[in-house]
Amino acid sequence: MTSNNVNSQKEASEVGAELLASCLAGDRRGQLKLYESTHGLVYRLMVRMVGFQEAADLTQQVYLKLFSKIDQFSGHSRFETWLYRLAMNEALQYLRKNSRKKTAVLAGDPVSPQRPEAERGEQREILEVAMSRIDPELRSIFLLREVEGMSYRDIAEVVEIPEGTVGSRLNRARRDLQNHLLELGWRA
């Protein structure tokens, strides 16, 4: 029932027990190795959740938490799933605290709705803008599915909702996105 049939940007990183043990011991080289193999996914998630301006700081926050809480990783799930959960919680917590702030547009200038003939690059930009306009909880699920290529089971584990709820949230996320895309001049 689970399959990943999307173009995933997910790194092929499998974090081994040895590396985790060295991070647990506070070994800086181990921490660097873990960071190097995983920071791309955390950073891109942050950019799309909170915008470029805050992404670097929040990425660092995630790793500070990760290294201080690594003894709490039970090993029942994949390490990356646990890391996604830490990252997503950090992003959502930030957005709740700063609920007046809108996620900054992720690329370039505002998109003109008068340009429905937008080319492919502009279409991507329109999607970035539309994503920044939908509810953060829906955005998180959309990103985990469409950008990270996660299965519903893994998404459910990351955002801590029942697996059966993932599909209905994705329906809402996709419909909200479509509405914003159309407002922005997207032509399907």
């Binding site: 800086r28 990425t59 469409e146």
Partner: protein, 282 residues
């Protein structure tokens, strides 16, 4: 199944997350339902768009900044441990940290007060270039590094009473010196941004740190270096990672103190406590 039921399952169908029997029912419905097919094709278009997204590239100094924060946290933990298990050590620390509020480090990445604008682009570029050379050389050969500064800027080798006269104020370093350091030399240096007092100090083990006291913020000095803002010893502080060492800058009254060659957060806290004590003596 009705359109409404099908549309509830549409994402799961699109993502191939349905059991085969339900999937078949949805597929059967789609053969004859234009509106559901239309909705599904929009999902597919959005997925295609998302698949084309370019992943953002993390900034190259991200780890350097994170490492500073990790180092700061480790130092804090050691400080707490030392307080709980070693009363003698605690007394020693209190000697230096009477004014240190627990070094709660609240970081904000990037644009610190070292990183604000400058009036002259050329002077800015020159200063940041000279300072970059200075910092690079400092790690291995502080004496050579010093020559880079002296060669590039007008300077006077001074004693403390001369410094006050040239600067027009009584510098912190003139009143006393942090414990465990001795003065090697003091210079009044005229930089494009400001005229500052630079004091080269030696630790008991022979290694050097350099203390700058200056009117303006250090603006361009640390351009291109990984830096973070933090609260150290109760002061808003800008920390710059220099491979094996740290540079730190904080405001002291109307002026700023910048120290190059610090070993760790504990030493920063001690220096901030010193600058506070020195200020209280004014």
């Amino acid at each position: 199944m009705s359109c409404s039921e099908i549309q509830n399952l549409l994402s799961a169908y699109h993502d191939d997350e349905l059991d085969s029997d339900i999937r078949e029912k949805v597929a059967k419905h789609l053969v004859n339902c234009v509106s559901c097919v239309r909705e599904l094709s929009l999902f597919e278009e959005v997925s295609q768009l998302a698949a084309d997204l370019t992943p953002p590239v993390p900034p190259s100094n991200l780890w350097a900044e994170l490492e500073l924060r990790l180092q700061a946290e480790t130092s804090q933990q050691e400080h707490v441990v030392s307080q709980s298990v070693a009363p003698a050590r605690l007394r020693f620390l209190r000697k230096y940290s009477a004014f240190i509020v627990a070094a709660t480090l609240l970081f904000a990445v990037g644009v610190g007060y070292l990183n604000q604008g400058d009036n002259s682009h050329n002077a800015h570029h020159h200063s940041s270039s000279v300072f970059s050379q200075y910092l690079t050389a400092f790690e291995n050969d502080p004496d050579s590094a010093q020559q880079i500064l002296l060669k590039n800027y007008t300077n006077d080798l001074v004693k403390s009473e001369q410094a006050a006269r040239l600067l027009g104020y009584q510098p912190a370093i003139a009143r006393d010196l942090p414990a465990d350091y001795e003065i090697v030399a003091s210079y009044v240096i005229k930089m494009p941004c400001c005229t500052c007092l630079q004091t080269v100090c030696r630790r008991k083990d022979g290694s050097q740190i350099v203390i700058f006291e200056h009117d303006d913020e250090t603006t361009e000095w640390f351009d291109g270096q990984p830096k973070i803002n933090a609260t150290c010893g109760g002061e808003e502080c800008c920390l710059v990672n220099l491979d094996e060492r740290i540079a730190a800058s904080w405001k002291r009254g109307k002026r700023h103190i910048t120290v190059i060659g610090i070993r760790d957060i504990t030493e920063i806290n001690e220096l901030i406590a010193w600058s506070d004590q020195s200020r209280n003596k004014i």
